[in-house]
């Protein structure tokens, strides 16, 4: 499995520099503390908690996930990668790495969030976990393909959130809704439409990414 070898290579080089992990961790701490300071002692309601939860996730994702392709471009190793593996294999490897990163990041965010905010109490755990997994997959896929695009463009850092936000908007709006549902304790059956939307978003994004990655990757 070449894709898995690629993933292992990324994982090893990440373990050496810890660039993405450090950036992500600091970003999570910074955004959560900014929210914490601005709220103060006030008790905020559920919908605001859910919205802020996704604000933290979005901005943390924007800080670390572009590394996947930008690092290859900076070190000039993308031509070697083009020689040893096909485009879809490269994309799978990078996607796996970003998936792991997104899941690790979001689990940390959930834990910190439920420690800090009293209003963030999940009543429907099954719904939350399902929407969490689906949302993370969508976030990882979209941010990986956008990372591939910006790695070839100039002004990499600033462009990434600008390009990602409109693409991620349907996912974020639906996920905020699902988070509100799981805090409210809505039944799983009543949230099925929103789950379907996130699922279809994931499927569409995976399909489009694999179809279009060839055009980005080949110079």
């Amino acid at each position: 499995m070449k894709a898995f070898a690629l993933f292992k290579k990324d994982f090893k080089s990440e373990m050496r520099t810890r660039y993405a992990v450090n950036a992500l961790a600091m970003f999570i701490v910074v955004t959560i503390s900014v929210i914490f300071f601005s709220i103060g002692q006030e008790r905020i309601n559920e919908s605001l908690t859910a919205g802020l939860f996704w604000v933290v996730i979005f901005f943390s994702a924007m800080s670390g996930l572009s590394r996947a392709f930008v690092s290859e471009e900076e070190r000039g190793t993308n031509l070697t990668l083009q020689l040893i593996a096909g485009p879809s294999t490269v994309f799978t490897g990078k996607l796996l790495f970003n998936l792991i990163l997104v899941f690790a990041m979001n689990i940390v965010i959930v834990v910190l969030y439920s420690l800090i905010f009293d209003a963030f109490v999940i009543k429907n755990m099954v719904l939350f976990v399902t929407s969490f997994i689906l949302g993370n997959v969508g976030l990882a896929v979209s941010s990986t393909i956008i990372a591939a695009i910006i790695s070839k463009a100039g002004a990499k850092g600033t462009l990434y959130p600008v390009l990602s936000f409109p693409i991620l908007l349907p996912l974020i709006l639906t996920s905020v809704q699902l988070t509100i549902f799981s805090i409210d304790g809505t039944k799983f059956e009543e949230a099925i439409v929103e789950l379907m939307i996130v699922l279809s978003y994931d499927v569409i994004m995976i399909a489009v990414s694999y179809m279009l990655f060839d055009f980005i990757w080949k110079d």
Binding site: L163, L169, L173, Q177
Partner: protein
């Protein structure tokens, strides 16, 4: 040539008719519109606002179609066509947003209240903005063409979410604003035949105007490119 004259006549007629045709209680003549309760004179926005929103989406669709064409054939002229379409698209998108917001001020009370349609036009504006930001950051022509083509396709597949699915979700997010639009006059309103005539003429006129502007836009860009190549 003849269709350009027709476009001119159509748009002249639509601008005069859309603004001056009176709204009366019991329309008898063909140039009189019936009163719609709650809208009255404000109903006339439909002749100008809806065509601009329509052109926004058509321009986006054309830009995506030419992006796909570019990726298949790698012909830079397709990229220029896609760029010209998107340039017009963002102008019409701004027009639709502004006219809609002004109308909303008088009909709903605020310029902006995150009604589903407003959210979708806002997302379109963001996509257009991001697309132009991406284009301006790449110097090599081929690279710019293929990367922006890829981005416009990715952005285009998310549009159905905004147009068909968002209204459903936004009701949950903004209960106050969503209720009065879903039950309000915008969706339930059945158009009077006299109004429908002017409306469709306006739609046709705007589409032809767009096509004309688009042709001028991409042709001038191609000529500019050729002139530049001569000097180098």
């Amino acid at each position: 040539m003849i269709w350009k004259i027709i476009t001119f006549l159509l748009l002249t007629f639509v601008s005069i008719a859309g603004i001056t045709f009176p709204i009366v209680e019991n329309p008898t003549a063909w140039y009189q519109f019936p009163i719609i309760p709650g809208l009255e004179e404000k109903a006339k926005i439909i002749f100008f606002h809806v065509p601009t929103a329509w052109i926004t989406v058509v321009a986006f669709l054309m830009s995506t179609v030419y992006s796909v064409k570019y990726l298949r054939k790698k012909n830079l002229e397709d990229d220029i066509k896609s760029y010209a379409a998107a340039q017009l698209g963002i102008i019409f998108c701004l027009l639709a947003t502004v006219t809609g917001a002004v109308w909303a001020k008088f009909n709903w009370g605020t310029y902006w209240n995150w009604d589903p349609r407003q959210t979708s036009i806002f997302a379109l504006l963001l996509i257009y903005g991001a697309w132009f930001a991406l284009r301006s950051s790449i110097e090599s022509e081929e690279k710019r063409a293929s990367l922006s083509a890829v981005y416009s396709i990715i952005a285009f597949v998310t549009v159905p979410f905004f147009v068909f699915i968002m209204p459903r979700i936004m009701t949950g997010l903004h209960p106050g604003s969503a209720n009065d639009t879903n039950a309000g006059p915008v969706i339930n309103f059945k158009m009077d035949p006299h109004m429908r005539l002017v409306f469709f003429l306006s739609l046709a006129g705007f589409s032809m105007l767009y096509y004309w502007m688009w042709q001028l836009g991409y042709k001038s860009m191609i000529i500019k490119d050729k002139l530049n190549q001569k000097y180098y």
